[in-house]
């Protein structure tokens, strides 16, 4: 397990300075570290959060977008018709509900296809683990440096939860 607080600290050390998203219980620890900060704005939908992050990036901020993988369905058009063609990067922290088919029914299909959706739309991603956080973060920063979005997939139990 990774510490939510420490992870947010690391993101800030790397220059991330704008946070938004729609909650997922798997990300509740991360969001509770952000909720009362002025650089966090709750988003109403994931696609609106993609737009918000794009604007913040062009205004000089480095954005982080937290979402459940269900939000990938809502935001795929924004990633493909905004970020990928305009070269606007964002770090996406995406919970992986339905991993290995063990979850509530509404998560099973997306949990099965989210990796393929990311791959087929040309979005780079990595699965976060206990031992690869630094390596994955370095890779994310390289991709973001090229002007592209990068997704960190987060499985259940990866971060401490607070709910």
């Amino acid at each position: 397990m990774l510490s939510s607080e420490r992870f947010i600290e690391r993101l800030k050390e790397e220059g991330f300075s704008f946070f938004t998203g729609v909650p997922c219980s798997l990300l509740s620890g991360l969001i509770s570290c952000l909720e009362n900060r002025p650089d966090y704005l709750p988003a109403v939908r994931e696609d609106a959060a993609v737009g918000l992050c794009a604007g913040a990036f062009m205004a000089g901020r480095l954005p982080v977008l937290l979402m459940q993988n269900s939000g990938l369905g809502y935001s795929l058009n924004a990633f493909t018709s905004l970020n990928l063609i305009y070269k606007i990067p964002v770090l996406v922290i995406m919970s992986w509900r339905g991993h290995l088919g063990k979850d509530a029914p509404e998560h099973i299909i997306m949990g099965d296809i989210n990796e393929n959706l990311l791959k087929t739309s040309g979005m780079e991603y990595a699965v976060l683990g206990d031992d690869n956080a630094e390596e994955v973060l370095a890779r994310a920063l390289r991709v973001i440096g090229q002007g592209l979005p990068f997704t960190l997939l987060v499985k259940k139990g990866q971060f401490d939860e607070r709910h």
């Binding site: 609106a48 959060a49 737009g51 918000l52």
Partner: protein
């Protein structure tokens, strides 16, 4: 008033303010009237001009940020109005060209004939909202918007009547980003 007439009225008043455009004819009309580096032409992602504009406004509080939006775009992203009102950036000016149709896809009826969008904006918490229907009212109303503390919302009722010969935005999306970021520096 026609959409083009409204653009011709507003564009000279923009100064060097960054403007985020909704997709469809709004990009193309504005591009045709005057192509500015500080124009972000969002050609896809219907509904997201407002959230992009909010991000710019929050990231650059020293700049007054204008969004040129459409009724169909606003209706698609009404939740974003709540984000704008909650974040309450003083430097945010939302202009909606309301022709009551999805003109870019062949003028199919939208819901804005029944739904007064400026009242939605007011009740959600925009600080300053106005509706304009006459051309001679537009300039003064926009001037007030630029002078007031935002977030502000100006609903401009326009007649459909886009000239389909109007060209497309010729810059590539990547160029649009680079130009816009240069203009923001």
């Amino acid at each position: 008033m026609k959409g083009t007439e409204a653009f011709r009225e507003l564009v000279p008043m923009l100064g060097d303010r960054p403007v985020v455009h909704a997709n469809g004819y709004i990009c193309r009309e504005s591009f045709q009237v005057l192509d500015r580096e500080a124009n972000f032409y969002m050609i896809g992602s219907m509904g997201l001009a407002s959230s992009i504009g909010l991000g710019v406004a929050l990231g650059r509080q020293d700049k007054q940020v204008v969004v040129f939006d459409g009724d169909g775009n606003v209706l698609m992203a009404m939740g974003t109005l709540a984000m704008i009102a909650a974040a309450a950036p003083k430097n945010f000016v939302h202009v909606v060209f309301d022709n009551q149709v999805y003109e870019s896809t062949g003028s199919q009826r939208s819901l804005s004939g029944e739904i007064p969008l400026e009242e939605v904006a007011r009740s959600v918490g925009y600080r300053h909202t106005e509706r304009v229907t006459k051309k001679e009212e537009l300039g003064p109303a926009f001037k007030r918007m630029l002078a007031e503390q935002g977030p502000s919302f100006l609903l401009v009722k326009v007649e459909p009547g886009f000239n389909p010969k109007t060209g497309r935005v010729t810059h590539s999306p990547e160029e649009i980003t680079a130009r816009f970021m240069r203009a923001l520096q």
